[in-house]
Subunit: 224 residues, 2 copies
């Protein structure tokens, strides 16, 4: 199963782990995050509620904040509104990876030999959002390129790929992708909050070659 | 609200009313259809369960069956698995229209002055299906052409339009559209049942300029 929350949880996870955080500890609730942080020496608290930083936390949910000088060598205890919650719907999965546009090709390579893949779009408050469906389509397209004869997908995956293809190129030109992300529910929220710069960081296709994966036994996320 | 069930309920409704049926009486259940037919003199019973004709009914759910010589001047009492049921989700709407590819432009013209439009995709057994989402996207695209400055759509409408645009032209070339419909859940079902010809009838964009509309008081569908 691949978890997708482009704006911003999975994007931030990729930036954080690529910058040297030792792990992400995903937590559903703010209190739960504060509690679990005590078990991880040197841990930083990160996340958001309604897009904004949480009182008393070290970090928000903006990828720009997750710089090596601040976070390298430390665990991040993270709670976000939709992204960390999407993980709860993966309890049947044998393997759980985390995808963003910034690591899409690396994720596709990891999936090449999997016989069956589900893509979980975090969405916003239970609603379908276009930024997540676009990345889901990009992942389906990544499959199609490597294994076109064998690919079978359901209608939702077919539609997601069609939406991605409507952006014309693979990967799309950066301005087209940024425009599509700005038009999405998540994008409009970020513009409203003055966090537009995060959209540009999220749109940098394949900036990283790392893949966050859930350690199912421990409930923490580390690089694959 | 616009109800969409391309394969095949709304397509069949358009063919039936264009061929001179006086009205469609949508019924949720088979027994309910048999019962209501008694109140409509000369009525024909039509519909399907699992895509197949219903025992003792006059007509199945194939648009090809709804020919003028058989149905002109008569009411059709219709029950289908997903299409007639989608109508139940429209009980809050002030106005309910029925759209198919075969009458898409006529529907778009009717919607031009509406301040707010919802599109209900029937899907299959509660699942999103690509044939319905493609038509939803075609309707959104129809709006965009006539009223580009004013259009605001939610992420699902945006994604539907993107999927439609991935077919390259508006309307797409017939072979591309038929291929997309064959790939859909509804299309695969029809191929399996040997009813492929219905896909081609459903793909004839703008063959008709008629718009079925629900008479909310009487619960029957007539031409607008």
């Amino acid at each position: 199963v691949v978890v997708v929350d482009v704006l911003r949880a999975t994007t931030t996870m990729v930036y954080a782990l690529a910058a040297g955080a030792t792990m992400i500890v995903p937590c559903r609730e703010v209190d739960d995050a504060r509690q679990r942080a005590r078990n991880f020496p040197g841990a930083l608290l990160g996340g958001e509620r309604e897009g904004l930083p949480i009182d008393g936390f070290d970090l928000g949910n903006s990828p720009a904040e997750y710089q090596a000088d601040k976070i390298a060598g430390r665990p991040i205890v993270l709670t976000t509104t939709n992204g960390t919650r999407a993980i709860d719907s993966c309890h049947m999965a044998r393997r759980v990876l985390f995808a963003a546009l910034v690591n899409r090709s690396a994720v596709c390579r990891q999936l090449e030999r999997e016989p069956r893949v589900g893509i979980i779009c975090a969405g916003t408050n239970g609603q379908v959002t276009s930024e997540d469906v676009l990345l889901a389509g990009a992942i389906v397209e990544g499959f199609s390129l490597s294994d076109a004869d064998e690919l079978r997908c359901n209608d939702q995956a077919w539609l997601a790929r069609a939406a991605w293809r409507s952006l014309s190129l693979d990967p799309p030109k950066l301005p087209a992708l940024i425009a599509a992300l700005r038009d999405s529910t998540g994008g409009r929220n970020l513009v409203r909050l003055g966090m537009e710069a995060d959209i540009e960081l999220a749109a940098l296709c394949d900036r990283f070659a790392v893949v966050p994966a859930l350690d199912i036994r421990e409930g923490v996320i580390r690089l694959q």
